[in-house]
């Protein structure tokens, strides 16, 4: 944690997941005017350094709170529930996704083998597109869930909701990676 406090406090915003975006933009502009190095050109060395640090922190805060996903991740971090990155290797499969992941990996392996032995591109693309559908649906479900949980947390601010948010984020990130893998395979087929 920085000597400047957390991002919400720094921007003068309540610690909520549903933020007033117009207010965020306004505060960002106001604080930029207060701290930006352009206005400290003639100031002392000490003041200029302070301005550099404060505006860097402000820009970080703005960027983090502007997007709903990074906002949630940041809040989880603040509350000590960071959806932490694994030290090495790939992340563990979230239990709720085991079935989908298993089915997808089987399908991907088959598609890869067919591609490497010269299978018809159009056919492979079609198979990949239909394999992708359930994964996309899962992602959409996560988006909805995150929205609901966010509203719930704003109302109650309880630990259980936070933990549910963390689990949902872990799954969401995993699904994102899966979609990335599918897209890479699609490029490989596309040729």
């Amino acid at each position: 944690m920085s000597r400047f406090g957390d991002y919400f406090a720094y921007l003068g915003l309540p610690r909520r997941l549903d933020l007033d975006m117009a207010l965020l933009e306004q505060r960002f502009r106001e604080l930029s005017r207060q701290y930006h190095p352009d206005y400290f050109y003639n100031a002392s060395q000490k003041d200029r350094l302070e301005s550099l640090e404060r505006s860097s922190y402000l820009n970080d805060a703005y960027r983090t709170l502007r997007s709903p996903i990074s906002r949630i991740e940041y809040l989880l971090g603040l509350e000590g529930l960071a959806a932490s990155k694994p030290a090495s290797g790939s992340p563990k499969v979230p239990p709720a996704l085991l079935q989908e992941v298993f089915a997808l990996n089987e399908e991907l392996d088959e598609i890869r083998e067919l591609r490497e032995s010269g299978g018809a591109a159009a056919l492979l693309r079609a198979r990949l597109t239909s394999a992708r559908k359930p994964i996309e649906q899962k992602r959409d479900a996560h988006e909805r869930q995150l929205k609901e949980l966010s509203a719930q947390w704003d109302a109650a601010q309880d630990r259980a909701t936070l933990e549910a948010l963390r689990d949902c984020m872990l799954e969401r990130n995993y699904i994102s990676n899966l979609l990335g893998t599918i897209d890479r395979e699609m490029s490989a087929i596309g040729g």
Binding site: S32, D38, Y39, L52, Y57, N59
Partner: protein, 628 residues
Amino acid sequence: MSKVVGIDLGTTNSLVAYVKDGVPVIIRDEGNDPLVPSVVSLAEDGTIYVGREAQRRLLTSPGRTVYSVKRFMGRGIDDVRGEASLLPFGVSGESGGVVRIGIGDRQFTPPEISAFILRELKHRAEEHFRKAGEFDFEVDRAVITVPAYFNDAQRTATRDAGRLAGLEVLRIINEPTAASLAYGLDKRNRGTIAVYDLGGGTFDISILKVEDGVFQVLATNGDTHLGGDDIDIDLMSAVLKELAASQDAAHESPVGRNFSSATIQAVRKAVIAAKWDLSEQQATEIRVDAGPGLPDGYRRRITRAEFESLIAPLVERTLEPCRQALADAGLRPSDIDEAVLVGGSTRVPLVRRKVEELFGRPPHSELNPDEVVALGAAVQADILISGRREMLLLDVTPLSLGIETMGGVVSKIILRNSTIPASGREMFTTGVDNQTAVDVHVLQGERELAADCRSLARFKLRGIPPMPAGLPRIEVRFQIDANGILSVSAREQRTEIEQTIEVKPSYGLTEDEVERMLIESFEHAEADFEARLLIEARNEAESVVLATEKSLRRPDFGELAAQELRPGEREAIETALAALKDAMRGDDREAIQEKTHALNHATQHLAEVVMNRTVREALAGKSVDQVR
């Protein structure tokens, strides 16, 4: 307090501007020319010429004249090898090091050449302020612009050039953002703006949100090796290929090898003129006069349609960065309220059509696309000095910044399009017991592997207190400042000892090298002074010639001469005029000054006569009351 200026250090032309009574204005020379061609020529006697004078020398001494040096700033020899055959000056350098430009038996780095141009702009501004009666007319502080997509090495090279020119660089700002500042003044806009900046050597697209006087860049993208010069190269190559074919020369690429530098530069001049014509006309002719390598000269008709199909792939290349920038900003083309064109190359009709197609609206270019960047730089300079808080530029870093980790993979620390100033941290430790130094390789780019990114610098962190391997906790802090330039600091957290950092820039000059160049530049000040005197003598000669010829062209000259001039006076004038024009073809400053003096003397009487006539004509038909 000495004056501050804004400088557009362009690939093709450079400009200097300042804010006068709240309005930015371009500082022009005595001939009212706002532009200083970014061309530098080194004569055999060591005299350095910059601008129009140097441009003339592209044809007379091409091997000693450098143009488009901006394309070499912050780059290595591997980046520019491809176009080397069409360049009249020699380029060399070690792989992974700074490009060296060879003129005669001297070698220059790109920042040194750029410094000559900056010094010329500095002088122009100082002359202007001195003539305006300012007591303190010295100019030693400036805001200098760079393409938004310039990386760290390119920005640092520009700042080094400023230092070498004796300028304190207040800020390096991005060209599209500067343009939007100038544009914002005019329109008092609010909304989302796309700035499409296609200059001589670089292309930038910036998406900005303007509100409450805050100009916030949402995303920026571009190509620092794509511009009008590439259009010229396409045309030149086509012409040279035809010439080679017609001469039956057995040619391998690169096509430039078959022709002398003088011929290539003559072709270049001709295709540029044709390119300009085709912005106004549907067809024109590429005309190269007969010369040593071209006994019959070269003439060829070219239509706008043919020109457009030749450059279509190049224009297409500008569209992908546009789409990427929009995606990064989370916007669709229809979300853009205004599209603005900047840079001379946006005068090409095909470019305008494509921009209009992409954004679904006619783009703005009311402000002169050549001047708007310098005007914006002047506004920024004024903001820094005055401390006025009406306007604020919030720019972004165009490229992700990362460090090389195990296996040659890049770990990103600061993402592209992050608002600057921006900072990031990374923890390091040692691999060996009592290791006292750690190497950090910093790169810029979006790819996963270090080999596919642009090496920025290698930092050696020294002074780590000796400890068992893996114990030190070294926090390395990466700070990108408001110039978009990186600085690094490091601290071992257990002992709280600050590391000393040794920087080895990948495509730039070390601090020692810049210091040495500063010292050397004082030695060459004498030669520069001579060049200045020659230019001034030429300018003065030019104005006397023009005035004389204007008088000689008067419809009533025949009658005037018969009535008012003494016998032999007309012949004396014409002789003196011819003698001066002859002297002007050479470089002998004293001869030019002597002949200027002689022409002045020969036309003194004529000048009085013409003056009297003019007064009489003005007074004719006016009563005494009207005159009073």
